[in-house]
Each structure stands twice: as C-alpha cells, then as structure tokens.
Amino acid sequence: MLEIRNVNKSFWIDSKEVQILKDISLKVAPGEFVSLVGMSGCGKTTLLRLIVGLDEEYDGGIFLGGEKIKGPSRKRGIVFQEPRLFPWLSVERNVSLALGDQQRKHASGTVQKHLELVGLKGFERVSPKQLSGGMAQRAAFARALVAAPDVLLLDEPLGALDALTRIHMQRELERIWQEEKTTMVMVTHDIDEAIQLSDRVVVMSSRPGEIKEIIPIALPRPRDNKSHDFLVIKNQILAHFQSQAKQYFSWEI
C-alpha cells in the first residue's frame, strides 16, 4: 500500500513562497493503476518526485508498506518522459544498472526476462542510439522494472512519442502492468490515456495543486475510447478543466 498523507510542498520563487501541493492525501492499493491528470504546473510531476525520493523537502508523509519514504529505493522505480539511457552502455547494461550488487549476483536471467517482457529480445547488445523513441522507452520500462519494485512511477512516459507509437505503447503498458502486477502511478496530460489504463484517475487543480476529484474507472478491459461509458467519464474529467478555464475569462458585473 502506497499512502500519501497530508502532503504540502512549496517552492520559493523570487523570495515569494509559491505553494505547489496542498493537502494531498491518497492511498494506492497494491497492484492498482492510478493516473494523475491536471494542467501543467499543477504539481503532479513534483508529487511523483516526492514519491520516488528525489525531493525530500515537504510537509506531511509518504509511506510504502507502512514505512516512511526516505530517499530513493529500489522498491520504487521510475520512468521519465525521456528514456534517459546511457549511450555508452548497451541496452542490456542500461537495464542491469538498476540492479543492486546482491541482485546482480543472484539474478542472472532477470535482465533477459525483462527485456523479453518489454519486447526487446534480441536487442541486448545494441546501443540505445540505434533504438527508435518507442523502443528506447521500452528499454527504460525494463530498467525500471528489473529490480522488481513495489511501485512504478511513470512521469508522462509516453509523452514524447508520436501518436501511433503512443497508442501502441499504451496497450503494451497495460499488458506489462497486467503481467507484472506492479502498482503504477502515472502522470499524464492525456485524458484518454488515463482512462484507458487506470483503475482510478486523480484530477488535480493548479496552483496550488489540490486533488479535485478521484474518479474510479470501472470499465472492462481492454477499453474502447469510443464507447459511451468512456466518453461520459472523459467529459466528467474535462468538466473540471473547463470550469477552471471559465473562471479566468468570465466577467462578473
């Protein structure tokens, strides 16, 4: 169980305090897929960085399995928007990089298994430069999963891909999630993507980033983004952003 309890986070910009996250509380069940959607600047990426342990300056607490999170750990993997592979290491070594010393000794074959999982069998010795954007991101998924984390954090993992590759990778991500049964928390701009993949969608508002609504998606998988139920949920989510936009441009007399 991943539990976020009353998290508040501020940045100092030009000696002015700007609140980024306000009273964020969220529980994610083991094996659950949760998406965070919101306008840019709503702090969803910041929240992800807090969970992964790259940023430890915040109020409140984040717990994994009842234990307070302190710094990064192999229990929490992350996939960034860019693959962030090292061009001087082969795909295989980029993936095995994520394993601890003990894991590397005992788990020969795990790297191979995870490359197979993401559909990169046969690309072990290849340089990341020779991979397409989609394939590079597959390798990043393998790297994030190889140490068998309890939680996988996804920071717009498909955001930099072209539309067709993106649709394909959404299906792949769903398959990987179903096979690995890892808890996943994904930040995305794409509402369709969020509904397609998630058990629950968390809608966030901007400045300060607050949870506005948590929408459970009870649709059977694989989901059809043209079905009526899908569109109803989509409109429900979109309504949040339209009301926000309206406030900016409406007049009151």
């Binding site: 992964v52 342990g53 790259l54 990064p72 750990s73 192999r74 929490r76 993997g77 992350i78 960034f80 860019e82 962030r84 090292f86 061009p87 001087w88 290491l89 082969s90 070594r93 990089l97 994520a98 601890g100 010393d101 010795r125 290849v126 340089s127 430069k129 790297r143 140490a147």
Partner: protein
C-alpha cells in the same frame, strides 16, 4: 576516389597520358595545403639568394637543407629529438594523470573544489616560465627538472577540462544514478566519467601540445641535450642554419603530435560510444 574511377572509365583511356594514382590525386586535390609552405620557401630562397643580409642572419634554404642532412647523418638531430620526446612523454604522463585525478576530485566533491580550486587558480597565474628558477633550485638542471617543468604545464589543461566536464554531466543522468542507488564507484565509472569523456580528452590534447612547447623552452634555459639545447648552443656559434633546422623540426613534430592526438581523441570518443 574509387567511385570516380569506376564512374568514368573512358576518361582514363582517352584522357591525357599522365596517370596519377589515387593517393596522388588526393594530395593534388589538397594543393592549397602545400601552397602556403611552398610560397614561403620560395620567398625565403629569393631573398636569401639576393644576399641582402649576411648569411649568418638570413641563411639561404639550401644551406639549411645541407645542415639538416648533415645533422641527420651524424645522428645529432635524431638523438636530440628522442631526448626531447622522452622528456615530453614523462612530463606529460605525470602532469596530465595528476590533472585527471585532481580534476575528478574537484569535479565530484564540492568540498575538494572549495579547498583546492582557489589555490590552484592562484598558482596558475604564475607564468609557466616563472617556475623555472624555483625548479632549478629544487631539482637542479638534470632530467628531473625538465620533467617537473613539463608536468606543471600539462597538469592544468587536463585538470580544468576534466573538472568542468564532470560538473557538466547532465542532471537527468545523475538522477537516474540516484534513483537506482548506484554506489559511488559505479556512479563514477558508469555515468560520470563516460559522460565527461569528450571534455577530458580535449584537456589531454591541450596538455600534450603544451608539453611539446614547454620541453623546448626548458631545454633552452638549462640542458645539455635536446632540440632546444641544440638550438641555443648553435646560436652561440652563429650557426643560424642549425637554428632554422631546429625551428622547422619543432614545427613539424608539433604538427604531427597534434595529428596523432586528434586521431587518438577520435578513437577514444568512438570507443566511448561503442557498446560495452
């Protein structure tokens, strides 16, 4: 080259009788490269033969070639050159490897940077030749003093470029290392150094060319062998021809050292980019 040969076979048969092989044609295509030195040589020849100045000041090129052949025949040139090159090799190796270690240290550790960098920046303000009196006092005028002198010069370019290369490693890469909890050694050898390698290699190249310049300087001040010493000794005897041979050899050797280092640089970058 082979493409033009196969694309226009009739030309080779019906064209002019002069046949130039492929490497020759390549050299000919780069005639501009040779035009400069040849022009300089021509001017020198004309002015030298006109005997405007006494031969001891403006020696004609023919005389220089004669001296050069003489110096080669008697092994004087090669011996001195080898002495100089071995000094360069020693001083460069000591200076640039020390520079690499200190560069890594100050690049990685903020504490080491704060401790060492202001000191080293101050030390660097001393012109390299300014070290010579102290070096002679401490190490005498033997081999060691030359090696130390060259090492001081070779130290800074490698050190500074290594440190700045390491400080320039992208935050994104370092975050990956942090997220996957790489230990210090793996972080250094898998991420930081490979990432900084292009900058490090540039520093090493600068160190190398500086080393070659410094050896000549060191030998001119105090030595009993080496290219620089050969030039100073013959200057005292007004043998301008040998001094000219020295200048030309220094230029040519420096040029080839640079070419060699560039080749090594390219090979290292290729190696860095090949999959391991």
């Amino acid at each position: 080259m082979s493409i033009t040969q196969t694309a226009n076979p009739p030309l080779a048969q019906t064209g002019p009788a002069i046949k130039i092989n492929a490497p020759g044609r390549k050299l000919l295509a780069r005639w501009k490269t040779f035009a400069g030195p040849l022009l300089l040589l021509l001017i020198w020849k004309v002015v030298g033969d006109a005997h405007i100045a006494p031969d001891s000041l403006l020696v004609p090129p023919g005389k220089v070639v004669e001296s050069a052949i003489d110096l080669i025949k008697t092994d004087i040139l090669v011996d001195n050159l080898l002495v100089s090159l071995s000094r360069v090799a020693k001083g460069f190796l000591v200076g640039s490897s020390l520079g690499f270690f200190i560069g890594v240290l100050t690049g990685v550790s903020k504490g080491a940077d704060e401790f060492l960098s202001p000191l080293l920046r101050t030390v660097r303000q001393v012109p390299l030749l300014g070290w010579m009196p102290l070096i002679i006092l401490w190490f005498g005028i033997g081999e060691l003093s030359k090696v130390v002198f060259i090492a001081i010069g070779a130290f800074f370019p490698t050190m500074l470029n290594t440190a700045s290369g390491i400080r320039g490693v992208s935050k994104e890469y370092l975050e990956v290392g942090k997220v996957y909890q790489l230990n210090k050694a793996r972080l250094l050898f898998l991420i930081i150094i490979p990432s900084a390698l292009p900058s490090i290699v540039t520093g090493v190249r600068l160190s190398m060319s500086l080393s070659w310049m410094m050896v000549v300087g060191a030998e001119m001040i105090s030595a009993n062998s080496g290219i620089g010493q050969m030039m100073t000794a013959t200057r005292d005897m007004f043998r301008t021809d040998i001094v000219m041979v020295g200048i030309i050899v220094i230029g040519i050797v420096g040029f080839f050292i640079d070419v060699l280092i560039k080749k090594i640089e390219a090979a290292i970058i290729r190696w860095q980019m090949t999959v391991k």
